[in-house]
């Protein structure tokens, strides 16, 4: 054969140890700065009064107590699993609902210009309204509780998934649709056989953005009228001026977003079985 036998080019891996060591100094410096700043009660720009902050040590202590109890022994000791579980359920419900509706709608809007022209203006009108602006209305029309929080998460996740799905579907080369047709794909199957796999990358990035936003909005959604959940926990901590608890809650929420993103990426890799897609 005259053609060159191409092999996939591998990105040269840097040794993992070096990467780890390089990442260490910055967080270490922040911790030192933080500790000294709190002890000396520094005043920073924006009127940040570091004297009001807990030390990293206090936050760590609070985190352990939250998770396992037995250190601080207050109303929050050992309650982390309950908060975590309640929040995770709300995120899953809102995000799942958003995906279940936005992906099919996005495929239809991306594929059929009639649907796109009918729906796109409305989508573009509704989209710029911040989810936080929906919150007061939501509390009035749905009421305090799970329903409101889930609805807000749903709203936050819906648009990124929808827009990325539309964009992905519109980028599918017409050539692939033609190829599928001449190979005997029934028209009803083209969406599933070609359009969906060909727009997978774009849909996946929409899902990741949406899941990140879902955790952001969750905290807003849990601020009022909810007793269990990470957002509720932070709100209660603010009411009781427990700054160590607030920071501990922030860290847990950040970790949740991070872990959720890793899990979603892993799940997407499993679904696509590491197949290449359109770039």
């Amino acid at each position: 054969m005259s053609s060159t036998q191409a092999r996939p080019t591998l990105v040269r891996r840097r040794p993992r140890g070096a990467t780890f060591l390089l990442a260490l100094p910055v967080p270490a410096l922040i911790l030192v700065f933080w500790t000294i700043g709190v002890q000396q009660a520094w005043d920073l720009p924006f009127g940040i009064q570091m004297g009001f902050l807990p030390t990293p040590w206090e936050v760590g202590r609070r985190l352990v107590d939250l998770a396992a109890g037995g250190i601080v022994d207050d109303a929050f000791s050992g309650t982390l699993p309950a908060h975590l579980w309640a929040s995770t359920q709300r995120v899953l419900a809102g995000f799942g609902l958003a995906v279940a509706l936005a992906v099919p709608l996005g495929v239809v809007m991306g594929r059929y210009s009639l649907a796109f022209r009918m729906l796109d203006p409305t989508v573009n009108l509704a989209r710029p309204i911040p989810v936080t602006a929906w919150a007061p209305l939501t509390l009035l029309i749905i009421g305090y509780g799970d329903g409101s929080a889930i609805f807000l998460v749903f709203l936050a996740a819906f648009f990124p998934v929808l827009l990325n799905t539309i964009a992905g579907v519109r980028q599918v080369p017409p050539r692939l649709i033609e190829a599928a047709a001449m190979l005997g794909t029934r028209p009803a199957q083209v969406l599933y056989k070609v359009v969906l796999p060909a727009s997978m990358r774009s849909i996946a990035s929409g899902l990741r953005v949406a899941l990140g936003l879902a955790w952001v909005i969750l905290v807003v959604g849990e601020t009022v009228g909810i007793s269990t959940g990470l957002g509720a926990m932070i709100t209660q901590a603010r009411d009781q001026s427990k700054t160590d608890l607030i920071v501990a809650g922030m860290i847990v929420i950040g970790l949740c977003g991070f872990v959720a993103d890793r899990l979603l990426s892993g799940a997407l890799t499993l679904v696509t079985r590491r197949r290449p897609t359109l770039t």
Partner: protein, 269 residues
Amino acid sequence: MPHIGTVRPRQPADVRVRSLGKEYPSRSGAPVAAMADVDLEIPAGEFVCVVGASGCGKSTLLRILAGFEHATAGSVEVGGLPVTGPDPERGVVFQDYGLFPWLSVRENIAYGPRQARLQRPVVQERTDRFLDAVGLTRFADRFPSELSGGMQQRVAIARVLANDPSLLLMDEPFGALDALTRSSLQGELSRIHRETGTTVLFITHSIEEAVYLADRVVVMAGGAAHGVPGHVREEIRIPLGPDRDVTSAEFNALKRRISALVHQEATAA
């Protein structure tokens, strides 16, 4: 290279194109005729190459035969049946391959037989046979992005052959390949045509390629840029046998003649 095999349940189809015309709507409102009064008859099993300057309507002709576009005048019949839409009986090979990037080479080739709901062992057998026929057995589990252009085009050819088409439509399939790959693929295609006996309509810019491959070369001319709709200028029979010698006098005489026909148009207009 191994043999493709003898089982051929589907007979090659003949093609009848009668006073075919295609008009596109234009911005000014008056439709623009891309092609008018094209007549073409291809007996079953013949290898026909269509050459002509850009815009002469040769791709439009192929796309109408494939069922991707509809004619605005005239009729198209393949195997005695009017063309109403794409069909696995009419396999298309594109210049840009059109492989599914998320499917491996094997899965790309098995795609058509699977869509036809053939039984698993049959799909497997056909896939293996055509992987072998295009010499890609070793690359069966690679993805298209991991292959060179020539290898991708081999996959595209195997993919339509696995559907056992009665007509093969090829739209400048080797146009994007380097000269060496191109000539080796021309040889392979020639051999595949001899073995399968499928009718082939092959569009190319290369006159040498046309003379090398075809039983008959159709020269198209005209097009919107020339103020005349695209039409068939002349058909030239290529009375050369298999394994053609591109350096022979006969070969080059045919090349010169077709070249004159193609270029005459461009300068006359």
